[in-house]
């Protein structure tokens, strides 16, 4: 059994299986919009328990991909542990470490997805100007002002929404939301998705907390460091 998890052929065939599963997913997602439509609007585990389990055929690709990723994770861990436990020589130290750094980065990114799928929160709602909304952790979000930025041709070039966050009645953070400019406070992000200016300006906001975000960034950095090392070390050896 250990040989199975240690085998490079397991890696190759698992990756091939995942490619086939994702291919199936790319077909089933648009074919079953009613099932997959809410996949990005709520935490993934919530989507699984409320929607996916009720539609096992439409979501089959997702469950299969979880199984494939679990197998790939075990395969990656076993291979890396074996590589690190093997005999070391000074000459090939970097060449043996570099793939393991890539593997650790990959595992951190998977951990990030796991944490983001089950914990944290993802809230969406509309808030008129000079109104407030309750948030988790005894926080309150207040929308102070909302201004669209329109150029001389009438094209929308940006937007600015002034918001304030209160925690336990204290003003703890304030900022201006814009395109690609959310407001972060203790791991929570406030985003302006769109707005409505008809009678009274209303901001359509999203408030997220993703405990996996840090691990995704950390894993990505490790992945790139490892990949760059492999590139530099193997370029001339190829």
């Amino acid at each position: 059994m250990k040989n199975f998890f240690l085998s490079l052929k397991t890696t190759v065939w698992t990756l091939f299986g995942l490619i086939c599963i994702f291919f199936l997913g790319s077909y089933l997602m648009p074919a079953h919009r009613d099932v997959h439509g809410s996949m990005n609007d709520q935490l993934l585990f919530q989507w699984v328990s409320e929607t996916a389990v009720l539609h096992p055929w439409a979501a089959s690709w997702f469950f299969l991909s979880l199984a494939g990723l679990a197998l790939l994770t075990v395969n990656t861990v076993v291979c890396s542990v074996q590589a690190i436990r093997g005999k070391w020589s000074r000459a090939d130290f970097l060449l043996r470490m570099a793939p393991q750094i890539v593997h650790i980065g990959f595992l951190c990114i998977l951990l990030a997805h796991f944490l983001g799928a089950g914990w944290g929160y993802r809230l969406a709602g509309s808030l008129p100007v000079e109104m407030s909304a309750r948030l988790p952790d005894d926080r309150v979000l207040f929308l102070n002002d909302l201004r669209p930025q329109i150029d001389s041709r009438g094209s929308l070039t940006g937007w600015a929404a002034e918001v304030v966050i209160f925690e336990n009645g204290q003003r703890v953070a304030e900022g201006v939301l814009g395109p690609n400019e959310p407001l972060f406070y203790k791991g929570m992000g406030v985003y302006l998705k769109s707005f409505d200016l008809q009678d009274r300006p209303i901001a359509h906001l999203m408030v997220n907390r993703d405990p996996g975000a840090f691990w995704a960034l950390f894993g990505s950095a490790l992945f790139i460091v490892g990949a760059t090392m492999i590139l530099l070390l193997k370029w001339n050896r190829a």
Partner: protein, 240 residues
């Protein structure tokens, strides 16, 4: 689109084939092409990588530059006809695509988007060149072609991974998540899985050589479907 600009685009169809005579003769075509890309950037005040016309044009430029870098020391190269044919086909695709004028949508005005898209297309070009080297290896069994395919795929994989990371950072800032479940993201992951498979398969005894070279060709077909096919057939977060 000004007449002079169109004329110079047409000139590329004459300049690129000069590389068939000598690899370094691709330089005038690359200089003109690079200047057209920069001119477009300054004219519209944005990175000229929006829409099929811009991106295909940039892909052709990146492919030409990668070819020059990999075969700089060759006088005349057997890869030349295949690479030039691919560049001309991509340029023709760019030419018949509609022009996207005007400013960027606000959500695209960020360095993360620019890095994401530039690195994506540079990696696509490297995957394309890897496919060309794969075809040459299958025909002639020259070790140099197999090694060059590996180098192209490895560099392309590293840049593609970086492009995905920058895309994730941008998505986190724009939409509050570094990952969205859409067919485009699934196909992007398929590309990433496929080249991970390629790099691992090369280490499996008995798979090196022709099977892996063939994989490098299949990989580019998947890349092109991810770029063109998914955009045409499936709805995704990559529509603005």
């Amino acid at each position: 689109m000004p007449f002079s600009f169109t004329l110079m685009e047409t000139l590329l169809f004459i300049l690129y084939p000069a590389a068939l005579l000598r690899v370094r003769l691709i330089i005038p075509a690359l200089l003109l092409h690079g200047w057209l890309v920069l001119d477009s950037a300054f004219r519209y005040g944005r990175v000229p990588l929006i829409g099929t016309r811009d991106t295909l044009g940039f892909l052709a430029l990146a492919l030409g530059a990668a070819f020059l870098a990999f075969r700089w020391n060759r006088k005349r190269d057997v890869a030349g006809p295949l690479v030039i044919a691919l560049i001309l086909a991509i340029l023709a695709g760019s030419w018949v695509s509609p022009v996207m004028r005007g400013p960027l949508p606000p959500v695209l005005r960020t360095i993360w988007f620019e890095l994401h898209v530039i690195l994506s297309f540079v990696s696509y070009a490297l995957f394309g060149l890897a496919a060309v080297f794969g075809i040459l290896f299958l025909r002639g069994n020259a070790v140099q072609d197999e090694q060059d395919q590996y180098r192209c795929a490895l560099l392309g994989y590293a840049l593609f991974s970086l492009a995905m990371i920058f895309g994730g950072i941008w998505a986190h800032l724009a939409w509050g998540t570094y990952w969205l479940w859409t067919p485009k993201e699934l196909w992007t992951t398929i590309v990433w899985f496929f080249y991970s498979l390629y790099l691992h398969a090369r280490l499996v005894r008995g798979w090196t050589g022709r099977p892996v070279a063939a994989m490098g060709i299949v990989g580019f077909l998947i890349v092109m479907f991810t770029y063109v096919g998914v955009g045409l057939l499936m709805k995704s977060s990559h529509e603005f």
